[in-house]
Every structure is written in C-alpha cells, then in structure tokens.
C-alpha cells in the first residue's frame, strides 16, 4: 500500500547516492592530480568526502531496508518456517521503526539549528556546511521508519493468517 508511494522516492535516493559515489571517485582523483601535478589540491576534499559518506549512508538506508538487503541471521528462525520468518520480520519492523524513529526525533532540532545558525565543519577556506548531511540523516531515517512500519504490518498479517507468507520476504 504505502509501497506505491515510497518506492519511487526510495529508488530516486538510491540513484542520487550512487551518483555521489561515482562523483567522489572523480573528486578524489582531481585532488590527487591537483596535488601531485600542479601542487594545488582541491581545497576541502577530505571535508567534502567525509560529509558525503554520511549523506550516502542515509540516502541508501531506505533502499537497503525496502529491498531486504539488511543483513540478518535467520537460520534459527528459519527452522520455524514461514511463521518464524514473519515473526522476525515483525520484530525487525517494530524495533527498526523505533530505532530510526529515535534518529528522527533527536536529529530534527539539530538539523534545523544547523541550517538557521549556519553550522559548519572544518575551518577557513575549507568550511563545509553541516545542514545538508544533518537533513539527509533525518529525512532518510524518517523514510526508513515508514518502510519498517509497513513491513511490520505485513508480517503481522502473515502471523494472523490474513495473508500468505511470501516466499521472498523482501
């Protein structure tokens, strides 16, 4: 149900993150060449790269969860068959929503503050604003909450026998 709404967004975020990874490669190479050949590195590369990793992680988080890419150890639960899997899906969904909910709850205010106050990391010419990363952390986590809740509902329906256990819980 909510999948219809979230899926395009999730895929868009995946594409953006992938593009950032691709671009990082070029940024790093430009920095190395600039430093090695022209003795002038691309200023702020380390700051930009480290900021990007946070952004990449939380852009990718919704896809990781929605596509079933999150690592898990379901050997023991697997012994209980479809219901066992549905149970661990339910637990993952509820706890996952709670955990990422904490990130949203705790991160919103600092993200707003970072935007308003112009918080930055680094110094001098190398200042990188903090708000984009803080914002992506909150937004990505919020989307993950929705996805986890939807998965929990689905798993609950399986447990209650209102839906058949899907072959691929993905």
């Amino acid at each position: 149900m909510s999948d219809r709404l979230t899926t395009p967004v999730v895929h868009l975020l995946l594409a953006v993150a992938a593009l950032i990874i691709f671009a990082l490669g070029f940024l790093v190479v430009a920095d190395v060449i600039g430093r090695g050949v022209f003795n002038s590195p691309v200023k702020g590369t380390p700051e930009l790269v480290s900021m990007s990793i946070v952004i990449i992680c939380f852009l990718l988080a919704p896809y990781a969860v929605q596509s079933g890419g999150m690592l898990k150890a379901d050997v023991l639960v697997g012994a209980f068959g479809g219901r066992g899997r549905a149970f661990s899906e339910l637990a993952s969904g509820v706890l996952g929503a709670l955990f990422f909910g904490l990130i949203v709850w705790g991160g919103t205010e600092p993200a707003l503050r970072a935007f308003m106050a112009g918080e930055y990391e680094g110094e001098g010419a190398l200042r990188v604003p903090a708000w984009p990363a803080r914002l992506v952390v909150v937004a990505g986590a919020a989307l993950v909450v929705l996805i986890y809740l939807a998965r929990a509902v689905r798993a609950l329906r399986v447990l209650l026998g209102r839906a058949t256990p899907p072959d691929v819980v993905a």
Partner: protein
C-alpha cells in the same frame, strides 16, 4: 552490582535479537539505545546520542574506501576481468593434475586483487569455472567445493572489505593490514592447490579422469555432456576458448592486474591514502572498462549496484559504532578482559577461545557483523596478551572466513548454489566439497598463530 547488570543486558540482548532474526544493524542500534536508557533513564539523552552518532560516526574520510573499492572491483568484473584471468590461469596450469580446479584457485587468488568481497568471486566463477569443470567430467562436489572454497581468497587477499572494517575499528593502518594479508592469502591458495592436486592424483575420478587413463588429458572426456561434441576449441555455456590467443589475453589481464597492483602499491608505499588509492582505482577501472567497450547502461548498472551493496554495510558500520561506544560505557570491555585473564587460560588458551567463538558465530552470522560484534571486545584483550595487532587481525579474518563455508549459514555456499547454472546442485554437496578448504584455512590460522611473521613480515619492510 548495578553496573554489571547493565553490561550483561547489553551483551545478551543483542545476541537474543540477532538470533531471533532481527536485522543485525537494528539489533545493534536498538540495544545500544536501550543500554543508554538503562544507564541514564532519560529518553532525551537517548535520542540525542543516537541521532548525534548517526551524524558523526561515518563522517570520516576513510569510509569512502568502501564504496570506491567496490566500484573498482565491480567495473573490472563487468568488463570480463574474471573470465580473462581464468582463461589465463587455464593456460598456465595445463601440466597439473586437476588442472581446471587449480586454475580456479589461481584465478581466485588473482581475482582477489580485484574484488573486495568473496561473494562476487563465488558468483562469477560458478558461471565460468564450474561449467568448464563439469564439461571435463569433474565430480560435482569436488568442482563446486573448489569454487566456493577458493572464493574465500577474495577477502583474504587485498583489497578486502573485512580488512577495511577491521582496520577502521581497531585503528590499525589499512595499507599495512592489506599487506599483512598477502602471504597468508597466497599460503591458503597454495594449500588449496596442494589439496586438489593430491586429491586428484590419489583419486583421478574426482577430476574426470578414469583411474588408469588420466595421463592423456589433452583429450577431454565429457561423458555426461549433451551440449555438442567434446572438442577443445570452444565452449558454448561459458564462451571460454581453451586455446584463446595468448597475446590479447595477457594484455587485458595484465592491464587489470597492473591497475590494481599499482593502486595497492601506491597505498603501501605511502604515495597516497587508502581513500585516494580507491578513488584512483575506481576511475582507472572506468577508463579500462571504457576501452573494453562498456556501455553507458552497464556503467549505470554497476554504479547502482555499488549503491545497493554499500548501503547495508554503511548502516551496519554506524550501528556497530553506536553499540561499541555503549559497550565501552558500560565498562564491559574491561570486565571481559579481567574475566578472561582470571580464567588462567593463558594467552594461547584465550586465543583458542576467541577463534572458537568466531567459528561458532561464523556458522550463523555474516562475516562483517561478526567483526563488528566481537572485535571491539577481542582486540584490546589480544593487545593486552601481547599478540601483534596485524597478525591477530589476519587470524580473526581467516577464522571468520571459515564460517562462509560451514552449514547452516554458509554465505559462499549459498552464492554458489544460486549462481551455478546447474539447478540440480544440492547445498549439502557443496558443503561437503568445501570441507578440505575449511581445513586449509584452519591450518593457515594455526600457522599464523605460531609464526606471526607470516602476517607481520611484509608490512614491516
């Protein structure tokens, strides 16, 4: 005492959740959050800490190595590097008994320099090497075990995601840890080759030879093959000509290996940081792929795929940092150290306990999660006992790697099963075939424990 109950809860809860099948990142994260709540009794503190760590934990230059090395490996793999390497290994091992199996191992060792994850190797060689071995009448478990077992080399030979994660957690140099893996990696490869050669000599039926006529291997036997006549000119399922012209093969493989070795050497020689090396490697791989005619569509697929695989990994890293911080706040690391030292097991006994724990966890959980769960606790203890951090890291990585081959959760075995074109293959067969490789890894673990120089010598140069 109050403090001890906190740490027990934090340790036990995560294990319960992990074994209940909860996503490992979530298990780590929610346990960490709960641990803080136990300590502080204040939800505001919990949410501040969790969200702040979400922003801070990954904000480090070094984490860019992960997606960038993946990008390099995937690009090179996409443009046929594995196939070229295999064709080459095939050419150069003609004189060996069980030649195709040996070629698979050699190719995996070489391909190990390209890929940072073992699964990629397992999937690729299931499609390239397995049909070839089958065509020549290798016994199925022998062939599949070889593909799964030698795929372990991908994580042991640099670059390796496991090494990167380990280095990040323990703050040892990534470059040095990469170097430390080289000799043990080759040693493992050598041990595996010795195994296939000896096994095939003792029992020629394993590698498709009839007990007496296995001397004349130039005429391949293909008793169970229905896809056309058995000639040595070409092979429809893999498209791998066993007599491909050497020149182009050497050139393309040479370029790939030169790029990767060049990048690794630059890191080892201190010409660039691991992040820069990975960036240069990724862009270099793109150039190579473009030369080899990769299409924009394929590039897009590779890049998106890197996004797919790095997402769960980065999340796991964030949650593990959160967890390990909370674990050290409860004081568990100190208590565990004191406890283990008080058992009177001695350094070797404690090492054996750790390796045992890795084996057990390895049968159930994926390698990276195991590192994230255990290394923050084990590494300080090992350091205290006087084990060299590099040798200890390689021992740990090897011990954890063995879990990829053991039931019930053997990631490499599953991958081979899923990727093998032959759908009648059974998991049990592959698990059985991989046992000798498991033993080889174990032997290398013991070797490094006794002679740490195997791991520490190269980085000390």
């Amino acid at each position: 005492m109050f403090g001890h109950s906190e740490m027990l809860i934090v340790v036990l809860l995560v294990l319960v959740l992990v074994f209940a099948g909860v996503h490992i990142a979530v298990a780590l994260g929610i346990t960490a959050a709960f641990g803080i709540w136990l300590m502080m009794g204040d939800l505001d503190v919990v949410r501040t800490f969790v969200s702040n760590t979400a922003y801070e934990a990954l904000r480090d230059y070094v984490f860019a190595v992960i997606p960038l090395f993946m990008l390099m490996g995937d690009l090179l793999a996409k443009c046929g590097a594995a196939r070229d390497i295999y064709a080459l290994g095939h050419r150069f091992s003609k004189w060996l008994p069980a030649q195709l199996a040996a070629a698979t191992i050699v190719s995996n060792a070489l391909f190990g320099f390209v890929t940072g994850v073992s699964i990629a190797a397992a999937a690729t060689f299931s499609r390239i090497a397995y049909p070839e071995m089958k065509r020549y009448g290798y016994r199925r478990d022998f062939a599949l075990g070889c593909v799964a077992g030698s795929a372990c080399l991908g994580m042991l030979i640099p670059p390796s995601v496991l090494m990167i994660v380990w280095a990040v957690l323990t703050e040892v140099s990534i470059g040095k840890l990469f170097l430390a893996g080289v000799i043990p990696g080759f040693l493992a490869a050598f041990g595996m080759i010795v195994y296939v050669v000896v096994a095939a000599t003792l029992n020629p039926a394993l590698s498709g030879g009839a007990p007496e006529s296995r001397a004349s291997r130039t005429v391949p036997r293909a008793p169970d093959l229905t896809v056309g006549p058995a000639t040595d000119t070409g092979d429809p399922p893999t498209g791998l000509p066993s007599e491909a012209p050497l020149g182009p093969l050497l050139r393309s493989t040479g370029l790939v290996v030169a790029l990767v070795i060049g990048v690794l050497a630059a890191i080892w020689l201190g010409l660039c940081t691991p992040t820069e090396g990975a960036g240069v490697g990724a862009v270099g791989a793109l150039v190579l792929a473009l030369i080899k005619g990769i299409t924009p569509r394929e590039i897009r697929d590779v890049v998106i795929d890197v996004g797919r695989t790095s997402g769960p990994l980065l999340l796991l890293l964030f949650c593990a940092q959160l967890y390990s911080r909370v674990l050290s706040m409860t004081g568990f690391t100190e208590v565990a150290k004191a406890f283990l030292l008080a058992t009177g097991l001695g350094a070797w006994g404690i090492l054996a306990v750790m390796v045992g724990i890795w084996f057990v966890l390895g049968t159930l959980i994926d390698s990276i999660s195991i590192i994230l769960l255990t290394v923050p606790i084990f590494a300080p203890i090992a350091a205290h006992l006087g084990f060299d951090p590099l040798a200890f890291a390689i021992i740990g990585i090897l011990a954890i790697e063995t879990g990829l081959l053991t039931p019930p959760f053997g990631l490499l075995v599953f991958t081979v099963k899923a990727a093998a074109p032959d759908k009648s293959v059974e998991l049990a067969e592959i698990f059985r075939g991989a046992i000798p490789y498991w033993l080889v890894l174990l032997a290398v673990v013991i070797g490094i424990a006794v002679f740490p120089g195997l791991a520490t010598w190269l980085p000390s140069l």
